[in-house]
Symmetry: C2
Subunit: 276 residues, 2 copies
């Protein structure tokens, strides 16, 4: 099978590395828009050949859209004339808006996937060998796909070492909100809180594991994450409200020196780790 | 030099391992209150000998208090009769309340230290070999100490591979608040937000790096952290307010679909990583 990847950044570049490593593709084609990206992709030898969209559609059995979620929506019209046997798949962090915007003519070809993995880095140089290995990928609304495409998606994700979970796109968006989108909003807020201090440098000189872990994802791409917040707006607002209830609660307990309740509340948080 | 360690959990147990590894002490004595801890310390062979406080005071040149910050305050009266040449030192996460509560008679002996390192685990079994290696330790208000004690503290921390930073206790408490205490309040809130959901298990099944990093420190000991929040109450309240300004800001930008400003705000957060 020939695989074509649109966007060779962290997700797409690492996907290219994974399918090459496990020899899943006869040939890996890539498409990138900017000259800077094309140059980096060639230097890093991420794909066998960089081509235009027309060639990608002619040559590939599987086309993977590894671009920001708003770009997925805007690029879809270019793929309305793919063959019935060509699988097209996105790797976006939101799913509900995307599945609702896939045109009917290619709905059966279009696999909505979200690999639950990433780093705070972006661009072709961010691509790493084992991004997908041992991680979970969520596939949404497979009842709208023909079997040939579902089977192809399963085959590829299994081959690169992923655990497959199937769910509805609306359920996915709630889960992804708590596990990823809300944590990003919090991490950006924490980073901005510290950067707003009169002397951030001397404060950050004392950074240890706690702050480093909590601020890592605040380095993530604003272009990518603005789009994600936009597409998962309703769930994000709801989750921020629930998080804010807890921030108000801890503030009140500390202000009112209600330390017994504070300890109980911390113990409840500890219980997370019976699951995780 | 003989070293005595009061409390052989994550901090004290790892300190015992470090001083043994670098052969700094002739003998390492330990003191623990509970039978359960004593048993674990003996099984793990963390110290050369477990003794009572009286023996600790007779035998040791350096006594390290590696216990929760409120216990540091309550145990100090037992050390009022130490020799002038005995150094006593705490490793607590708050410093201002502690230095203000050291009785005058042992003020010159008492080194207020905060090693900026840790994990979410606690107890003797949490002790690890390299907790201090390459990390930063803050020493506060050294102008109140005799040179013999300052030199001893420097010697020990340098020998176990730490970078020493000196500052006032009030400045320390502000810095530690942003780098550690506020992140803990946030992490506990995030964990409780997810645990409050009707089906936390299926949500957490999708946890990847972002959520794992952001919720790790929510596993920290409620006993220890209630005391820290108590002792650094004023700074914590102030820092929560500043963080909350940013959470309100991101919520408003998402609600009002003000995505240009959202992207700019995320870019500001990115700038943290020019420093860290």
């Amino acid at each position: 099978m020939n695989i074509g990847i649109v966007g060779l950044g962290l997700m797409g570049g690492s996907f290219a590395k994974a399918v090459k490593r496990y020899a899943i593709a006869t040939k890996v084609y890539g498409y990138a828009r900017s000259e800077k990206s094309k140059k980096e992709i060639a230097e890093l030898n991420l794909v066998d050949e960089l081509v235009d969209i027309k060639t990608l559609k002619e040559k590939c059995d599987l086309i993977v859209l590894a671009i920001p979620v708003d770009n997925i929506i805007s690029i879809i019209p270019e793929f309305l004339d793919i063959k019935d046997t060509t699988t097209i798949m996105d790797l976006g962090s939101t799913k509900d808006f995307i599945v609702k915007n896939i045109p009917e003519s290619i709905r059966q070809n279009f696999i909505a996937a979200h690999p639950m993995t990433g780093t705070e880095k972006s661009g072709p140089k961010a691509a790493i060998d084992d991004l997908y290995e041992g991680k979970t990928v969520v596939l949404c609304n497979l009842e709208d796909n023909e079997n040939i495409h579902v089977n192809r998606a399963f085959k590829v994700f299994q081959a690169i070492g992923m655990r497959i979970v199937v769910m509805d796109s609306d359920e996915h968006d709630i889960h992804a909100c708590y596990m990823s989108h809300l944590p990003h909003a919090i991490s950006y807020s924490l980073a901005n809180t510290v950067m707003g201090h009169e002397d951030p440098k001397s404060i950050i000189a004392l950074a240890a594991g706690g702050f480093k872990d909590m601020s890592r994802i605040a380095k993530s791409s604003p272009d990518m994450w603005t789009d994600i917040f936009k597409q998962n707006r309703e769930n994000l607002l709801k989750s921020i409200d629930l998080f804010e209830d807890h921030m108000k609660k801890v503030r009140t307990m500390v202000e009112e020196e209600d330390y017994d309740d504070l300890k109980e509340w911390m113990k409840k948080a500890n219980s997370l780790h019976e699951i995780l």
